[in-house]
Subunit: 261 residues, 2 copies
């Protein structure tokens, strides 16, 4: 049987340790091709490059025997997936995995996540896709504790497929190398960021801002990703790209929008 | 009674005709403050600026008496809303309106839309928000046919509020100045883009790509935004930022994720 073709990407860039970890794991499960941004793309959300040129080149990061084909791309994570599917791969991948992100993409962070945008891009194309993130922003984060769980999740996805119209948002608690307590299927917690803008002045006297902020959890549910992570579990949220709030349609149909005034 | 405070933003940039149209309309309904990108941000999705500095300055585009306060921002549409709420406005806006975008944000385009990311950013903060888009990519598009409908929708939203956890994605058919046939509450049509990469060579010989593509509608439903638009109606889709595919949770709970091997 042909080995499954696994496309690996991320948003922290092609040299990020999280990506290198994921490549190593995926090599155990199939044939791996890497198409990843040539520079960090954190916070890019589902951006795509429409008014600019895109560059892509074959790169060699790993010189070991059996190292996968790797390509860097000047664009966003979503661009990487589009380019991989249309130009680089010669067959449709069996799964697309993105990450492992250095930092949480749980709860509202999914909205801003380049990691998840790559997975969603694949999902829109009908390809099973998973984004992995470790709740540790450090470049030297220890990803080993989650290695077995990541392989387990990808294996299940390859065997069972992923529910139609969804991709998986997997977040891993910071365990510094220890195995998490288990894996929980969750919903996205309600939360937001209380931004603070750090106002400074440039050497030439121009005012500028840095965006900073504090995460504010607004959800006391025990079925949320934040709850699972806080209790040492890996969270798996099925995430959809039909953004319609179907429950709200009836309410809006009561608005007076079509009466003549 | 105090006039409602209306924050206006967009993704085509502060000088875009679509924004200028929307400002003119909103001045009839309340006190307007504009915080918009200093350059076009199309396709930015829900990107935010986390690894770079943000600049913002007061600008005067409109010199007429009663012209609103306007600020340009070097960031994305989502940045504009964050900066407006935390730094620029001295009270919470009653509504945030984004657009009028030059081009469709119906169906899957909502995922890539900077216009909608600004609205969603406000929605996350619990502020009623609406993104408006005209299905005409021309810079000289005629927005007048939709003027009355836009005011009607914003008035209803100010009076009734918007269903909790949602923002409105409003798309307007291209009518070249004629009034659309009416307004329909819809769901997001299933669709995707069949990308084609236009491969070229730079003057110095380096290969690069332009992202191009064709829109592919995968949905025959008559309750979709694409169906409404095709038939000359304005589409209103309640759009949510809880991306959980709740219906898929049960299916995933059947996966063997926590058994010992």
């Amino acid at each position: 049987m042909e080995k499954p073709l696994i496309l690996v990407t991320n948003d922290d860039g092609i040299t990020a340790p999280g990506l290198r970890n994921l490549i190593g794991l995926m090599k155990e499960l199939g044939e791996v091709v890497v198409v990843a941004p040539d520079s960090p793309q954190s916070g890019m959300g589902h951006a795509i490059t429409v008014d600019n040129t895109l560059y892509s080149s074959r790169v060699i990061v790993d010189k070991e025997k059996g190292a996968p084909d790797e390509f860097s791309c000047s664009g966003t994570p979503a661009d990487c997936v589009k380019l991989a599917l249309r130009e680089i791969l010669n067959r449709r991948p069996d799964i697309v995995v993105s990450g492992i992100n250095h930092g949480s993409n749980a709860s509202i962070n999914v909205i801003y996540s380049g990691t998840m945008s790559a997975a969603i891009e694949a999902g829109i194309e009908g390809i099973p896709a998973i984004g992995f993130s470790l709740c540790d922003y450090s470049w030297n984060a220890d990803f080993t504790g989650a290695h077995e769980a990541i392989k387990k999740i990808v294996k299940e996805a390859l065997q069972q497929g992923i529910p139609k119209g969804t991709v998986l948002n997997v977040n891993i608690p910071k365990t510094n190398g220890k195995t998490p307590r288990g894996i929980k299927i969750c919903r996205q917690a309600r939360a937001n960021w209380k931004e603070q803008f750090d106002k400074r002045r440039s050497p030439t006297g121009k005012e500028y801002y840095w965006l900073t902020g504090e995460f504010e959890l607004l959800d006391k549910g025990e079925d949320t990703d934040e709850h699972a992570l806080k209790n040492g579990y890996i969270s798996v949220v099925p995430t959809q790209f039909d953004l319609t709030a179907h429950h709200a349609i009836q309410q809006l149909n009561n608005w007076s929008l079509n009466e003549q005034e």
